[in-house]
Symmetry: C2
Subunit: 301 residues, 2 copies
Amino acid sequence: MKFEVTILGCSSATPVFNRNPSAQLLNCNEKYYLIDCGEGTQQQLTKYNLKAARIDYIFISHLHGDHYFGLIGLLSSLHLNGRTKPMQIFGPTPLLEILEIQFKYSDTVLRYPIEFFPIEANESQQIFENSDLIIKTIVLNHRIPTTGFIFQQKQRQRKLIKDKTEEIPMAYYSALKKGIDVELPNGDILRSEEYTTPADPPRCYAYCSDTLYDESYFPVIKGCDTLYHEATFMHDLLDRAIETHHTTALQAGEVAKINGVKKLLIGHFSSRYKTLQMLLEETQSVFENTELAVEGRTFHL
Amino acid sequence: MKFEVTILGCSSATPVFNRNPSAQLLNCNEKYYLIDCGEGTQQQLTKYNLKAARIDYIFISHLHGDHYFGLIGLLSSLHLNGRTKPMQIFGPTPLLEILEIQFKYSDTVLRYPIEFFPIEANESQQIFENSDLIIKTIVLNHRIPTTGFIFQQKQRQRKLIKDKTEEIPMAYYSALKKGIDVELPNGDILRSEEYTTPADPPRCYAYCSDTLYDESYFPVIKGCDTLYHEATFMHDLLDRAIETHHTTALQAGEVAKINGVKKLLIGHFSSRYKTLQMLLEETQSVFENTELAVEGRTFHL
């Protein structure tokens, strides 16, 4: 099952050096989940050949503009392009007011319904579930209410071994995939273990932006396969990071290491850094399996 | 005196084919005036090496998103980049409410003052004057209250002829430039016409987007040097243009011809047109001196 994320923006605060503000597109089993939506996200989707029309779920971490100023434009374009299916949006309560006031004054009545789910940033909670995923919030520590998101795949069924099962009636597949042995009318037993292989272990992606380094959210992300974590500054600017409630590249590595994740992606880079290699190296000095979450890169999770 | 406009966006409604929503930067005597501000305008300014920090005046024609969704991001970036000088914004009354609600929920207190001038779209009025320009609104006919803008240079003073005036005391320059003859202490007369040449005639730029073809705004733009006019559709889609309160390429040419402008720029092209040559040709069939107002082009006005 496909489970990958494409980076649409990795800049903090302002777009600069061809880096756009925060946005990521998660593809889970060919369903599109948009995570944050900085200005220009719809242009970025076009640039990377990702169809905005396929997005059905949008998650906004907080109401600093670099994380949501592109949302109203994206929603408007979908309307103008004839969308009729609902859009589910998860974000801070005032986000709906911000959207509605702009639709009101442009005299826009959307052709599709927005289903808005307000997020409270006081405790981690499950906000979404479908056949593929459970999504929970991560309560972060920023200047305004902010949550990250954790995308947890569900346990999949065992996989049929094609060569062995092609002569078995399809009616038995479901039980075998669930790990149940089947007794045939003639008394023979089909053992699930013999006709199936174990399912891929369910994977997990955690998105943490923006936040002060703060152990309070560690329990929620512990053991996750891939962690995206903001790394706005180099560690020599720790004071500035603390003042603005952000994390340093070194600290991002520590978060990954302490919480035993397998892979770390860093992003949300300050406009003071024209190139990013030194941020990467600083993080890798603590946690080696780190990559830069820069525009256009797709990571298999 | 420099008087030129750089096109930052020429797309209607949605960004597509690398065309961005409406925005133009007017440079008059090295002062920057931004006209409309679709999503991604700040990125476009960067792309064309135009310093956003130099913009002191912003004019928003109406509250359809393709004309203003980039404003909140631009203003936020200026704040984050340390701006302290005021920004004057001219636009529909609710625009201020839309901006303020977003600053409120992001807990942003701008480091610079916004001086907001609400525009009423019921009659043409002067909204701005400085030593270079007078700016008036053009009441357009769109689905929501909409005004264009007319940028009228002031009459400049006559120009000194360097070779002839270098031996004349500077104290007399001012009178000569104003066309006044000067009597010297010895009774000699310095004739302004002899020491100066006429000033360049003041020029005029009119910006009309979005609007139905409607003769009611013709008196305001009559005789203007350069007219920017929307040309959303080809004329075979006249019904669609009327329904959506837009103008066809043919009609844009007629507006230019009837009103005796010298040059026409067309823009605000529908996303149904992947290439624009046929729109240009349709307009030129009526008004030959027409150009496509596409991204990155600068027109001397």
